[in-house]
Symmetry: C2
Subunit: 205 residues, 2 copies
């Protein structure tokens, strides 16, 4: 079939482009160019054109890109032209904050359930959700056919939570616990650890 694989680093930039395009739409803009987008993001115009060319031809010579159209196309490539249901595990400060995060709206995601193992928290309300017993994780996640989850439990528990999520059919995990987790081939993991980002900057201070 000879299907060329898209480099991971290119896929990783698409969400950045999409976010900028949506910001431009909010500003009422209609058209942009690789140069403008690049200046806005600190990325070279050539790189943006090269990245996009991996997926098709979305622009017009002399004119640039229709923001609306390009956003639509990138959304389709990333499969976020739909809404993905997401489960949150851990109802502490971080889990509660992300469960209620307004920023998922219109960007392809919706939190639909939250779990905790603490009996004190189970049954409590977090925004519009009732915290579920973590014992129900497998059955509820599986039944709802949820493929994406966010882990917001202490580091020591993150691996076992990940194992349970995978067993329940989850294929993409966003891990807020400050620890590397191992998952089977084919399951995707991304990490959010503020300390990693901060330490990366202190080097230069």
């Amino acid at each position: 079939m000879d299907v060329k694989t898209i480099p991971d680093i290119v896929v990783g930039r698409l969400p950045i482009y999409l976010r900028a395009l949506q910001a431009m739409l909010d500003e009422g803009r209609k058209v942009t160019s690789s140069q403008e987008l690049g200046e806005r993001l600190g990325i070279s115009a050539a790189q943006i054109r090269k990245d996009l060319s991996q997926f098709g031809e979305f622009g017009k010579q002399g004119t640039g890109y229709s923001i609306d159209f390009l956003a639509e196309q990138i959304g389709a490539i990333l499969k976020v032209n739909r809404v993905w249901d997401v489960a949150v595990v851990g109802a502490g400060d971080i889990g509660s904050a992300i469960a209620q995060y307004q920023g998922f709206t219109n960007r392809g995601f919706r939190v639909v359930m939250i779990f905790d193992k603490d009996p004190e928290k189970v049954g409590a309300q977090v925004g519009s959700f009732t915290v579920q017993r973590v014992e129900e994780l497998e059955s509820l996640v599986q039944e709802a056919r949820i493929e994406i989850a966010m882990i917001a439990v202490p580091g020591a528990e993150a691996q076992s939570v990940a194992d349970r999520l995978v067993k329940a059919g989850v294929q993409a995990i966003l891990n807020y616990a400050p620890i590397s987790i191992s998952v089977p081939e084919g399951v995707h993991v991304q990490y959010i650890d503020p300390v990693i980002h901060l330490q990366r900057m202190t080097y230069y201070l």
Copy 2:
């Protein structure tokens, strides 16, 4: 002087190494090798050795690395063998969660103040902090000689908050708002936007 510059991508991996080393220490381990560390992180042993060799010789042939010593050295390189005071701007769900985050302990950072512009929030308690008026931002940040801040305000306000932080002397910003911000040369910015990470994974689902 001919000082070789360390590639940014190498600096970016050091915090990952450090986190893994500290986890090993917690497990009571004393010695590790580039191979073991690499397997744990999904990074090649050669790359780890190459990265570390940019800064010095930290291992022993035949033996590997003293975990304690290597963690110490990387901490020193990253300048996190001290505690940096951090300001948080925005006392919503996210700002409150990061202000109280336990994970900064022993990793080089300590939140010392939190601001909000909402008069309803100003004066309220967030953990052990009293929310400060954002009007006091410049004076309080400057007086405390704070160099690092985290932004957790709505996207529309992030740029103006960043401008004020920079004016107050902040040189490193961790931005939780889902928007690119521009800062003067020499000021560092890192981003945390869960949607970016999620969209990066949906491509593969």
